[in-house]
Symmetry: C2
Amino acid sequence: MKDRESIPKATIERLPLYYRCLDKLANFEDVDVVSSKDLGGRLGIPPTQVRKDLSYYGEFGRRGVGYDVFDLKRSVGKILGVDETWTTILVGAGNLGRALVDYKGFEKMGMKLVGVFDAEQSMVGNKIGGIEVLETSKMEKVVEDNDVKLGIITVPTDAAQEVADNMIEAGIEAIWNFAPTRLHVPEDVTVRNEDLAIGIVSLIYHLSWKKKDEEKENS
Amino acid sequence: MKDRESIPKATIERLPLYYRCLDKLANFEDVDVVSSKDLGGRLGIPPTQVRKDLSYYGEFGRRGVGYDVFDLKRSVGKILGVDETWTTILVGAGNLGRALVDYKGFEKMGMKLVGVFDAEQSMVGNKIGGIEVLETSKMEKVVEDNDVKLGIITVPTDAAQEVADNMIEAGIEAIWNFAPTRLHVPEDVTVRNEDLAIGIVSLIYHLSWKKKDEEKENS
């Protein structure tokens, strides 16, 4: 494997796509062997890119034959860490929290939700995804008891930093943050900001320039 | 402005962050002038990067003085296209759809939701975010009547391609897709895949390698 630090972020972001596609091929389509062309074609990724991405992690597949679907799925799963189970908590039991808990894809990626918390008393005691919503004050114990390293924040913006502080205090090392604010965390904590506004704005940006181009052509 | 095609995607993705921060400075903190250092500091972006990002679009600010907050907000808003209103529809009125409709940030970004649709009869007639959920068959008329270019897909994976096809047929030009599948669309339609599994897997990837490193150190 190449020096891990030198692997492009875009490559790391494509690995889950490969993994899910291989999983589908193995479990639903009974495909044994796949070429980089097939795999890329299904994902809209050029075959050269597929080969390059995988080459960062070792030698897979045989030239002219392709990849063994089962082997490659297992290898990519191991690279990603989804071959293990990662206990996870979620704070913020609103619609977004519910949507995430319902999302079937997560278990396949190794995530196991062991606690859901909310500061609102009216939420406490509700069940979401089969898990009872607890008071935020109980978070620390759940994190300790289940050796949780992964926390999801789906609270309003104003509450997010405090929730993050509490998570880190309890022992969380990676935070998936849906609140539209940048969190301040120690260097050894990883944060992924899932900033939904960026998605919509990048589409608006494209629409807007398309419109400007059309207006220019018509003038 | 530089040739638009040559502007890095990462720059375009940072513009909404600048915009939201400038909006906060202007409307909630009464700040008139901001330096690239201040702006970057609030967002965890190096000041050199802030200046470089903005320089793609023109000359803003004055050396040694900083940026006029109101002017820069207006300029960035115009670049992004959020100074206009973009009518939008959403198909899939489940938890995720609800969470998106509730998200207050969107209106600020120029998005105006004019229709929510669901194939499930049990959903039709419910109100979400003050908008009545309609049958999917009514989508085309709503798109035409409101000149909608932007569509959001929050349906299950299996239904996503058909919904996308119907959207495009009706006149939608940009799709924000939350279903974990790649959509096949004509070249002139822009798709943004908001693939939630990638978020969680990139965190698991980091946790997993951290654990491997720790095990190596301890062995």
